[in-house]
């Protein structure tokens, strides 16, 4: 077929931030997918809780201290995360690097706290269905913290190399988006597992 | 059109399948009877819908309108008319769906309504047989049997369905729809037979190797006959009187048989396999797989794995002489 040019796209920008970027939508897609997984695991927990006359089963609910510390660390990390995104959108490399470091450190602290949390649980995964679903929910979230912390670390290294320009700033923004999801998805799980049995 | 011979061929099939002793279309109880009626109502409505849809489709293919040279041309009047027609058809679909839902609810209520069976029987699904325990307010009148359930005609019977291993499903289509036997739960099923007879059922949830050979018989008889059968079942096994059966009894008690089977009135108290106290009185063996004859009983004992590969009954070495005696003993447990 013969062509009739009606539009000139040669001056269009080559990348953008936020919802203009396909990668942002891909990240959103993964957040939705993972979020659905969380919702279903929570659903399974609630299903078993309502089925059993007593819940938690043969164990006391987990101690508040480590999880609450973890929650605090995650909530605090939202601030440097937001700043990393803001300075990435302004393409300010030094500031982006600094705030990425802060997020990484807080993320590692979160992982450490999560290990402590697991260690101090009063029930093992193979003791009963309560133990199984408790460990499953915590494990699922732990996997998400680890993957995003790893992603942040790699991105941080990248921002110290010759590749630290252009579209990489958009990648920092998307990573920050995903970290927000990691923090947000924790809050209802925390409420359910720690405060649910205490109400 | 070439669809016609196919259509005629297809019409022959529905006529071949209405009779059978395990058929949802040959019903002998109020439960299954209601369900059969509901089925015919649905079939009538839905078959009509299908035929009308196919006619519309055929008509759409034959219609030759003025040729549109331009596939994108708009005809607002024709569009409006078509929209109206489609709208009406959608509305009709909604009405039919609503009506069928209503019928379904009505029948569901009717079926779930009656919960007044006085005779209570616990049926526990096992891989691959049915444990049947007749309950009674007097503990001395309870008894256990397997794979065959006798009930009085014309009375509702309540079945409590459980499982000791995997999920099974209790289904006797001529009397009622199925309900699952789920480990960790108890489901209740009410059924009633309106006519004397033998009704066959089968496990309807895949449960492993011998799911295909997990049949159950429901035998409905008049109340008086049922009561005499029940009294006979409550009684312990009568001791062997003739020499052949005495020897058979000895074989039974010196073989691994007693590890799994019970015979009330003796020291055999195994709970793993079916209760054999009155096995001689049953019509079938191995959960409806074999007719209860001497030959079949012998074959089953000698090599259960040949008949039901994977069954939990192991191979036991029995001498041919001993086998005959054993079979006589078991046959006499009526």
């Amino acid at each position: 077929m013969k062509h009739r040019p009606v539009l000139d796209v040669s001056e269009l920008p080559t990348y953008a931030f936020g919802a203009r970027s396909p990668m942002w939508w891909g990240t959103l897609g993964f957040c939705v997918l993972e979020g659905t997984g969380f919702a279903l695991a929570v659903g399974a927990y609630l299903y078993l809780a309502f089925l059993n006359p007593q819940w938690p089963l043969s164990a006391s609910p987990p101690d508040l201290i480590w999880a609450s510390l973890l929650t605090a660390v995650l909530l605090v990390s939202v601030i440097p995360n937001y700043l990393a995104k803001k300075y990435a959108e302004a393409e300010d490399l030094p500031k982006t690097q600094i705030y990425l470091i802060v997020v990484l450190v807080l993320g590692l602290a979160a992982i450490g706290l999560r290990f402590l949390e697991f260690d101090r649980l009063h029930v093992k995964w193979d003791q009963n269905a309560y133990g199984s679903s408790l460990w499953a929910l915590l494990g699922l979230h732990m996997a998400h913290i680890i993957t995003d912390v790893a992603d942040t670390a790699v991105l941080l290294v990248l921002m110290f190399t010759r590749h630290a320009h252009g579209k990489r700033f958009s990648d920092v923004g998307d990573n920050a988006f995903y970290w927000n999801f990691v923090v947000l998805s924790w809050l209802p799980i925390y409420a359910l597992l720690y405060w649910g049995p205490r109400l | 059109m070439r669809l016609r011979p196919v259509g005629i061929l297809l019409l022959v099939f529905p006529l071949t399948g209405c009779n059978g002793w395990q058929s949802a279309l040959d019903t002998h109880g109020p439960g299954a009877g209601s369900l059969e009626t509901l089925f015919w109502i649905f079939l009538g409505v839905l078959a009509t819908v299908w035929i009308l849809t196919m006619l519309a489709l055929v008509a759409s293919l034959r219609t030759r309108r003025r040729p549109h040279a331009d596939p994108l041309s708009e005809d607002p009047a024709a569009n409006r008319q078509m929209t109206g027609t489609v709208g009406a058809l959608v509305a009709a679909t909604a009405v039919i769906v609503l009506a069928l839902t209503g019928f379904s609810y009505a029948y569901q209520k009717r079926l779930m309504g009656e919960q007044d069976g006085t005779l209570t029987i616990k049926v526990t699904g096992q891989q691959w047989w049915w444990q049947v325990e007749y309950e009674d307010p007097q503990p001395s009148r309870t008894f256990t049997t397997a794979n065959e359930i006798h009930i009085p005609v014309g009375e509702p019977v309540r079945l409590k369905l459980e499982s000791s291993d995997v999920i099974h499903s209790f289904w006797v289509p001529s009397l009622i729809g199925k309900t699952d036997n789920i480990p960790g739960r108890q489901n209740v099923l009410e059924l009633q037979a309106d006519r004397e007879g033998i009704y066959r059922g089968q496990c309807a949830e895949f449960c492993g190797w011998q799911h295909a050979h997990m049949g159950v018989l429901i035998i409905a008889k008049p109340k008086a006959e049922f009561e005499s059968w029940r009294n006979q079942q409550i009684a312990s096994a009568s001791p062997a009187s003739d020499d052949e059966r005495k020897r058979g009894e000895q074989v039974f008690f010196t073989s691994p048989c007693i590890m799994c089977h019970s015979i009330r009135g003796t020291s055999a108290g195994g709970k793993v396999g079916p209760d054999l106290t009155h096995v001689g009185s049953r019509l079938t063996l191995a959960a409806g797989t074999l007719q209860n004859t001497r030959g079949n009983l012998a074959a089953w004992i000698v090599d259960p794995q040949r008949i039901k590969p994977g069954a939990n009954m192991p191979l036991i070495q029995v001498e041919p002489r001993d086998l005959n005696a054993l079979v006589s003993y078991l046959e006499g447990l009526k």
Partner: protein, 640 residues
């Protein structure tokens, strides 16, 4: 000043500077895949990957079909000793599992992967390396379960693996673990493709392709992708819980320790019901495309059809309990699911009526694609209506888990998905291969398939009502089911043979079919605006869309956008609702990392069948592969 707005390099060659064959050749070099094994394994071209997906999926169809033939041979006579219970249980499990997880969903995704970028007027699918990765993961999952079957450790628990039968106590060994982990493979693959489709449709449409100009096939796979995103996590959670129960002693499904056997069923069917719509909705998109083209008329009721797709998608999440009507759930709750299961007939009905209306107003062209669509109507509508019977709680108590259900779902799946799929193959084969398939053989194929199918499956409605349960390796002679079973078996053989005829047609047409040219059917959508097969870049210049049927609206000259690079991989990213050209984004080059990452993922998944620690060290290896994948290489595409 953001690099994004940096002025384009004036020395870089752009597509308004050259034209004709020179433009085509240079773009083909830029977008092409290198020859040789490494080139093939590193490709990120959606067309090559799409073709692989299609061929692999049809291979699995054949394997599953052979399993079915074996089953029907066993069931042809009562108490037949051809196949024993162990092999039979493996056969029906492999048949169902392969059909559902390795054929039906992947083949629909495969057509989407191939067609969507062409239909929306872009040069590649979004996240091309992820696309390559997802094919390899799918392939490995399929190999896992079939190699296991060949080694006699095939899964034998049915395609929906109910606990406790599939649990540690009643399914010793690794069979069930292999099955559960295969699910993980295929779900990862499907979820990846779903995200790619969503992003491609939202962000890479040709300028001017507003929401109401998106082809119906694209809408159907777009909606399907959302179903995949919301439904597949359920089966992943379920299969993960099962593996955990079996491997490390958790008690999700163990009633003795607070777990529940029905939890499995809820989780599985929450996925399982949308799953059948994941299979069916793309097929409705194929039906829409074929009817439009072969009626030579624009589709009637475009808006209604789109809304029906969306409504069906939503409703499909509210039906799952109809698979559990006999488990003893509270009657009131179950009744709700009767209503919702019946209600889904309404959007389905809207689609049927709109299609008939399109045919009514058109001038039908009776070629093989339309024949298969007519077969779809005949069979699918019957299946859908038998589904209304199953939707009724009381009726279901008689027909659940019997051959009536087997008849129903084969009518809806074969009628509703396979027949449209076969029509789609005849329809799009010329675009993919460049030659038309034989109409004569196609006619034979259709009638053998139609007659064989109905002969095989219609009698099953009756055997089910006569008391024959599902998943039985044999039955007794006195049941009266023997004649109908024999008939079904004969029909099944004819049906299988029709696929052999189909295979023959695809192979011989590739060599000697008549050349098709760009648009042999005079269709209206964008994939027909480029050559057959399309060049690696899809379009020499990105089209600009002015109508829902671009090629019917612009018959003489195609309006295009100009200004994209010729030497580097560039495509247009547009805005979500109005499709205004927004960015000139770089598209990734071929890479071997997706294959390496898929291998690492495969090793992780397979090892975790045997030890939980594999998840830990396996993830580390996968992590390393992913770093290799995403690390920029300094090429123009990576830096921009």
């Amino acid at each position: 000043m953001s690099e994004a707005f940096a002025a384009p390099d004036p020395k870089e060659l752009r597509d308004h500077q050259i034209g004709g064959p020179e433009l085509t050749a240079r773009l083909a070099r830029t977008w092409g895949t290198k020859r040789g094994l490494i080139g093939a394994l590193s490709t990120v071209d959606h067309k090559i990957i799409g073709r692989r997906y299609i061929i692999t999926a049809f291979l699995f169809l054949f394997l599953a079909g052979l399993a079915a033939v074996a089953m029907r041979l066993q069931l042809a006579r009562p108490e037949s000793r051809l196949i024993g219970p162990d092999l039979y249980n493996q056969l029906f499990t492999m048949h169902g599992t392969t059909m559902m997880f390795l054929f039906a969903v992947p083949v629909m995704e495969a057509f989407a992967v191939y067609l969507v970028p062409l239909m929306v007027g872009t040069r590649n699918i979004a996240f091309p390396r992820l696309n390559a990765f997802s094919y390899y993961v799918y392939l490995f999952g399929g190999l896992l379960i079939w190699v296991a079957f060949m080694l006699n450790i095939g899964a034998d628990i049915g395609w929906f693996g109910y606990v406790p039968l599939s649990g540690p106590e009643f399914s010793p060994g690794k069979r069930a673990d292999i099955w559960a982990q295969m699910i993980t493979f295929t779900e990862v693959s499907a979820l990846a493709v779903a995200v790619e489709i969503v992003v491609t449709v939202l962000k890479q449409r040709a300028p001017g392709m507003t929401l109401d100009r998106i082809p119906l096939f694209v809408w159907s796979v777009f909606v399907t992708s959302f179903l995949i995103i919301f439904a597949m996590p359920a089966v992943m959670i379920a299969s993960t819980f099962l593996i955990l129960d079996r491997l490390i002693g958790t008690h999700f499904f163990n009633p003795a320790e607070g777990g529940d056997a029905l939890l499995w069923q809820h989780l599985f069917w929450f996925f399982g019901h949308p799953e059948v719509y994941i299979i069916f909705l793309p097929a409705t998109g194929m039906v829409s495309a074929i009817i439009t083209t072969f009626s030579r008329r624009k589709t009637f009721g475009y808006l209604a059809l789109v809304l029906s797709l969306i409504a069906t998608g939503f409703l499909s999440f509210g039906l799952w309990v109809h698979h559990m009507f006999t488990t003893g759930l509270p009657q009131l709750g179950a009744s709700f699911f009767t209503a919702s299961s019946m209600m889904i007939a309404i959007p389905n009905g809207i689609q049927i009526f709109c299609w008939i209306a399109t045919l009514w107003d058109g001038r039908p062209v009776f070629r093989t694609p339309l024949l298969f669509v007519l077969g779809f109507f005949f069979i699918f509508v019957a299946g859908g209506l038998s589904g209304l019977m199953l939707a009724s709680v009381p009726l279901d108590t008689q027909v659940h888990d019997t051959y009536f259900v087997v008849a129903h779902f084969h009518y809806v799946l074969i009628g509703g998905a396979v027949f449209p799929l076969l029509g789609a193959v005849y329809y799009w084969y010329p675009k993919i291969v460049g030659r038309l398939m034989s109409e004569r053989i196609g006619c034979w194929h259709f009638w053998l398939a139609f007659i064989g199918f109905n002969l095989a499956f219609f009698p099953m409605h009756i055997t089910g009502l006569m008391g024959m349960p599902r998943r039985v390796y044999t039955y007794q002679p006195e049941m009266g089911w023997d004649n109908l079973n024999l008939l079904s078996s004969v029909g099944a053989l004819i049906f299988f043979f029709s696929f052999v005829v189909f295979l023959w047609n695809t192979i011989t047409s590739a060599r000697s079919g008549s050349l098709s040219g760009d648009n042999p059917w005079d269709a209206g959508t964008l994939e027909w605006a480029t050559s057959s097969p399309p060049p690696p870049q899809n379009f020499d210049r990105i089209p600009v869309v002015t109508n829902r049927e671009p090629l019917w609206a612009e018959r003489e000259m195609l309006p295009v956008a100009a200004g994209l690079s010729v030497e580097n991989r560039e495509l247009i990213v547009s805005t979500v609702s109005e499709a205004r050209a927004d960015l000139r984004e770089a598209s990734p080059e071929p890479s071997i990392w997706p294959l390496l990452a898929a291998i690492a993922t495969g090793i992780t998944f397979i090892s975790s069948i045997f030890t939980p620690w594999a998840v830990v060290w396996g993830s580390c290896i996968v992590g390393v592969m992913l770093i290799g994948w995403f690390w920029p290489k300094g090429s123009k595409e990576d830096e921009e």
